[in-house]
């Protein structure tokens, strides 16, 4: 997959997603929760970009802003040639079939009053104009693709287990032959023994249909398995983007390093040998991020400059982008 010519399918430039805070008697605009603050990255055709980080770091917001489920505060999101962030309503509707989403909680993202056939067929009703018989045929094909028995087409979501419900959500996302799918924590709500089934399905579909994924997850072991490149987010910004193997072997950003060291491994021998970096304290509020580097309050390698100057995401080694003064000293970067 890597030897095909690398063409970015998704180009994100300076994406900002602020949620306003209104306070006081007059509900005046008094500040913003900077959920995503100046994020730029590319996703190449056919690759899986893993997006990892802790809860509240803005990874889901990035996923939603990319598909314009939120209207971004600023920035561009070019997906397959069109800037999704600024498209008009009708043009956006036309664009929707190329970009789809698989949600975290299959229980909450499937309408309990619709049958499986109706759920999977709804995007077809909206966008395809196929006659009923052909539409049903397409629904059956999709059910086959995701490993659901056709006989269950007239059942309701509650009659399925968590893993099967996630398959329904995937079939719905595939209905319109998308190019790009945002998978927002698609396995977080599933049991360990079921997670592997869903991940294998996503990989098979990618191989067969040439899909491009943004795989959002907090499970770093699973991201190592599925992603080609990985972006690590902290407090609304990207700390590091690197090819998978480089990141896991040698994380450059101190946060990426601490995050990886915190993941427990299912092997008592390795667990006994590892040195763990325990970060002090909690993540600061995104409504009031610290001055300078946003990780400076918890960074074990913090330097005086980190409190003053915000590091810029810079290519530190070929293909590896890091926002840290330690890795790319400020004289080599353009200040702020």
């Amino acid at each position: 997959m890597l030897d095909t010519a690398k063409r970015p399918l998704v180009q994100v430039r300076n994406l900002k997603m602020y949620f306003p805070i209104f306070s006081g008697l007059l509900r005046r605009h008094s500040g913003d929760v900077k959920a995503v603050d100046n994020v730029s990255f590319d996703i190449f055709e056919g690759e899986t970009l893993g997006l990892v980080g802790e809860s509240g770091c803005g990874k889901s917001t990035v996923g939603r802003a990319l598909l314009r489920l939120y209207t971004p505060t600023a920035g561009n999101v070019v997906i397959d040639g069109d800037d999704v962030a600024t498209l008009s309503a009708e043009a956006l509707r036309q664009k929707r079939p190329t970009m789809q989403m698989v949600f975290q909680d299959p229980q909450a993202s499937l309408n309990p009053r619709m049958t499986v056939a109706a759920i999977i067929g709804e995007p077809l009703d909206e966008h395809s104009g196929l006659p009923t018989a052909e539409k049903l045929e397409r629904v059956y094909t999709l059910m086959d693709q995701v490993g659901l028995n056709r006989r269950f087409a007239n059942r309701y979501p509650h009659e399925f287990s968590g893993g099967q419900r996630q398959r329904i959500g995937i079939a719905r996302a595939l209905a319109l032959n998308p190019k790009f799918i945002v998978c927002d924590e698609p396995i977080a709500a599933l049991d360990v023994s079921i997670q592997a089934q869903v991940v294998n399905l996503l990989e098979d579909l990618q191989d067969r249909l040439g899909l491009t994924y943004l795989f959002i997850s907090h499970d770093l072991s699973m991201v190592r398995h599925i992603a080609d490149r990985v972006a690590v987010m902290y407090l609304g910004q990207i700390a590091e983007i690197s090819p998978r193997d480089d990141l896991y072997a040698d994380p450059l950003h101190p946060y990426a390093e601490a995050l990886l060291s915190a993941v427990p491994e299912p092997d008592p021998n390795r667990e006994g040998r590892r040195t763990r970096i325990i970060l002090k304290g909690d993540v600061p509020s995104p409504a009031n991020p610290p001055k300078g580097c946003n990780f400076c309050t918890r960074c074990p390698k913090v330097m005086p400059i980190c409190h003053d100057l915000e590091p810029v995401l810079t290519e530190a080694r070929p293909g590896r982008f890091v926002a840290c003064h330690l890795v790319t000293p400020p004289q080599t970067t353009r200040a702020g």
């Binding site: 193997d245 896991y248 990886l260 915190a262 993941v263 427990p264 491994e265 299912p266 008592p268 325990i278």
Partner: protein, 334 residues
């Protein structure tokens, strides 16, 4: 002598759809100072087992049908509600998964830590407050005296879980039961809590039951592990044995199905096909048979009993509930 011994515990839920046999003939013991890990998927009966022990399940629909729970030699299943109340929170402490829903939002953190101290230990207000400060410092909350007067919503998730641990430890329990205490937390916060628990074990030396579905967490902190599936204990072993010489097909498959953080990256994940069982009716066959690669006729006919693997007495070494015997050496490099 074990601090806690459970023999033949059976818990059944009466539902409209019939009986659900959530816990089926579970026996285990907990030695002083030991950390026993309990692993299993949702619905495997790990939480219900622990809730049954100290009468925390609403009855009906739940019914503890058989078994003995010996705490210091006395069967607490036969205890009256008043006697049980003296055990809960005093001799057995609890930490639950979600610290936000298990703390009362309308009382200060201080009041909630002081409650068990005043009820169980009969401390005066001043004494309880002094002890509460001590406890908050013990679990690593800075500025403890000031924090006593704050409410749970003013704490972050990790800090709330520290408060829960402080409450559970308030009366110096003999046993601490922690039900998925780090599942709702981020990995860096989870690492903080795991570090804290390791430290507290050294300081206080209590016995801990740690319920989780995360085999990584278990590998790092447990001395001994119990694997539950379909309401039964299917394998029990010291932690190193379990990870390096797993015997039960379920344990073996589970260990293969999780991707690794280091080492060789797997091209494709191993899968356990099928779904966990529905526990209707008393089990007459092995609960894992439908998903098992090694199942044969006997698995359908007879629910396997636990049998020792390494010659030690049942429950003291490595045991497994399976008719199939794992080949001897190939697991060494697993």
């Amino acid at each position: 002598m074990p601090v806690l011994e459970v023999r033949g515990l059976k818990t059944v839920f009466q539902t409209r759809g019939g009986e659900v046999h959530a816990v089926n003939d579970v026996s285990f013991h907990l030695r002083p100072g030991e950390l026993l890990g309990v692993v299993g998927e949702s619905g495997s009966g790990k939480s219900v087992t622990m809730m049954s022990l100290i009468g925390l399940l609403p009855s009906p629909p739940a019914q503890v049908r058989a078994g003995e729970v010996l705490l210091g030699g006395v069967d607490i299943l036969k205890a009256s509600p008043e006697e049980l109340r003296k055990v809960r929170g005093a001799r057995i402490g609890f930490v639950f998964q979600d610290p936000m829903t298990s703390l009362n939002p309308v009382f200060t953190v201080g009041a909630q830590i002081m409650e068990p101290l005043r009820v169980h230990m009969g401390l005066t207000k001043a004494q309880a407050e002094a002890r509460a400060v001590e406890l908050l410092e013990l679990v690593g909350i800075p500025d403890a005296r000031k924090r006593l007067k704050t409410y749970p919503h003013q704490f972050s998730g990790g800090m709330r879980q520290r408060v829960m641990i402080a409450i559970a430890l308030a009366c110096d329990p003999e046993v601490l039961i922690a039900d998925e205490p780090t599942t709702a937390l981020d990995v860096t916060i989870q690492a903080q809590i795991l570090e804290l628990v390791k430290e507290l074990r050294q300081k206080l030396g209590m016995a801990i039951v740690w319920i989780t579905h995360d085999l990584g967490v278990i590998a790092g902190i447990a001395d001994r592990v119990m694997v539950m599936y379909g309401g039964q204990i299917v394998e029990q072993a010291p932690v190193w044995e379990l990870f390096h010489k797993p015997q039960h097909p379920y344990t073996r498959a589970l260990l293969r199905t999780i991707p690794k953080l280091g080492g060789q990256r797997e091209a494709r994940l191993q899968v356990i096909e099928g779904q966990p069982p529905i526990l209707a009716g008393a089990p007459t066959a092995c609960p894992f048979r439908a998903r098992c690669a090694h199942a044969f006729a006997r698995c359908e006919a007879e629910n396997p009993l636990r049998r020792p693997v390494d010659g030690a007495a049942l429950g003291h070494g490595h045991d497994v509930a399976c008719h199939w015997t794992a080949p001897a050496q190939e697991s060494a490099d697993a």
